[in-house]
Amino acid sequence: MLQLQELKKSYTNHLILEIKELNLPEGTFWIKGKNGSGKTTLMKIIAGQIPFEGSVVLNDTDLISDPVAYRKQISYAEAEPLYPGFLTGNELLKFVQKVRKADNQQAKAVIDTWNIGGFIDNRIETYSSGMVKKLSLALAFLGHPKLILLDEPLITLEDVALPILYQLMKDRVKEGTSFMITSHQAFSENDLLLTSKIVVENQTVRIE
């Protein structure tokens, strides 16, 4: 599913990540690591958000040589999402729906599942951080990405929303979607069937 080769990321000569090779099959992967270890950097590289050296290939589609086709296959929910406050949640959802070519039925299902219909027509600047988080997770499930990256999906999320997230993930896994999740909170086997854990430490990664 995902291949990283000779991947390197530095900031002004300070090495953050160096991965010689990482091949991941389809599945659900929990990315673990201490604060500042490079988990979010890894997520952002795979999401195509930041430049890097090396290659990232998802289902034979290279991020560098075929960026649009690559991005069609991925979806990324940031740990602390920031959106223009003057937009309503619905405007944002419609925008992402259009870009990701998701149908109205799916958009409606996402709103209902995440129970965000009550505030989706309000401006985002009126949302609490938990509401913004729910919106960002809802957006990540729009369309039909092959890999969904969730950076700290559990923070600021209310307890009653956790089973919704887990159920959505299980449903998508059955459809062949893979997940990469960073979280400081542990998942139990009942919540998610993890394929493996990826530990980010010492500027590289290892599969646990």
């Binding site: 958000q49 960026p67 086709a69 940031e78 920031l82 223009p84 937009l87 925008f95 990701r100």
Partner: protein
């Protein structure tokens, strides 16, 4: 109290000058860059005597200063609202008089460019016996300083009380396309900036159109438009900052590069619409349709080009200012050589090349 003064300097004063470097560059250029060095003192003396002896001129200057004060006040208010600046509400644990004093210090420092120039005006006014205009200027500056400080202090201390009035807002009855995200940001957060740049460019174009003969050289409106475009440089800078802070999530969406590029062109086309409408009013009389199209494409291309360069050095305002100076001089020279169509094409191709090459290689280091 030293740490508090230090905090105000670091959190408000320095960021104010950093964020408005483009605007200051433009003002500095207009005030000191458009005349020969040998004529600089005479130029400023004429300006100052003009405002001291003409009530209308003085009122225009006071209006511009008022816009600047408003800009400063809105900057402080916006910062106070930002989640990462909530530390400023610690000031409410001081007495209101002490907070007021600190805010006078703050506003004095960010009004500094206006205060310094006013000091020169006052010296000349006193020497030449213009006592009434001098008194008006002093009263205007002092009341502006005190009023901004008092309102900000009141805001910090009384924010637990409900607002006494709110500006009504309306919902746009359609889903905004991407380019309107940028325009909405400007109309919401850069009202004074837009007003300043539009006042300058529309006023300049209007004056030039009035003095132009029928079907005169395109170079004259092109040069005036160029000054107007320079006045928009800080808006362009602000749009890039907005994109870095609030639209970074778009980078992981499957958005084709050509669509992204055209999206930027739509933004700049809309920004320049008022100037182009004004120029269109003279179409058939003073400029031709072809001239108008050339000027519009040139304007959009110019803004797209300076935007594209921000994918290289958005954080470094010094380099941005140097770049603006060189691009202004180069463009000015090429307009004089009657190469407006060439410039329009060059800026268009250049901006597309830079954006498509740099867009995903660029990484914002803006702290949000």
């Amino acid at each position: 109290m030293k740490p508090i003064y230090h905090l105000i300097l670091r959190t408000l004063v320095f960021p104010f000058y950093q964020q408005h470097a483009g605007l200051f560059f433009f003002i500095f250029f207009i005030m000191f860059g458009v005349v020969e060095a040998s004529q600089l003192i005479n130029y400023h003396q004429s300006l100052i005597y003009g405002m001291l002896s003409s009530t209308l001129f003085l009122l225009i200057v006071l209006f511009i200063w008022l816009l600047y004060f408003l800009k400063c006040f809105l900057f402080v208010a916006q910062k106070c609202e930002a989640p990462d600046y909530h530390i400023l509400y610690e000031l409410s644990s001081l007495s209101q008089a002490k907070t007021f004093q600190l805010l006078i210090f703050l506003y004095f420092l960010i009004f500094e460019p206006v205060i310094l120039y006013s000091a020169v005006i006052l010296i000349l006014a006193m020497k030449s016996g213009f006592y009434l205009p001098a008194l008006i200027i002093v009263l205007f500056q002092v009341s502006g300083l005190l009023l901004c400080s008092w309102v900000s202090s009141h805001y910090i201390h009384k924010r637990h009380l409900p607002a006494q009035f709110t500006i009504p807002s309306f919902k746009i009855p359609f889903n905004r396309p991407l380019f309107l995200f940028y325009i909405s940001h400007l109309t919401k957060n850069q009202k004074v900036g837009i007003l300043l740049s539009k006042l300058f460019s529309i006023f300049s174009i209007y004056i030039v159109l009035q003095s132009m003969d029928a079907h005169e050289d395109i170079r004259i409106p092109a040069i005036v438009l160029l000054f107007g475009l320079i006045a928009h440089s800080f808006l362009v800078f602000d749009i890039k900052r907005f994109e870095d802070q609030r639209l970074s999530w778009i980078r992981s969406l499957p958005y084709p590069m050509l669509s992204l590029y055209f999206n930027y062109l739509y933004v700049f086309a809309l920004i320049l619409a008022p100037e182009m409408l004004l120029l269109a009013s003279s179409m058939g009389n003073k400029i031709t349709l072809v001239d108008w199209i050339e000027l519009y494409v040139f304007g959009i291309g110019f803004l797209a080009f300076i935007y594209a360069r921000l994918f290289k050095f958005v954080e470094n305002t010094d380099v941005y200012m140097q770049f603006m100076l060189w691009v202004f001089l180069g463009t000015f020279f090429l307009i004089l050589c009657d190469l407006v169509p060439f410039l329009a094409l060059g800026f268009g191709i250049g901006s597309f090349f830079i954006i498509s090459k740099r867009h995903y290689l660029y990484e914002s280091k803006v702290i949000v």
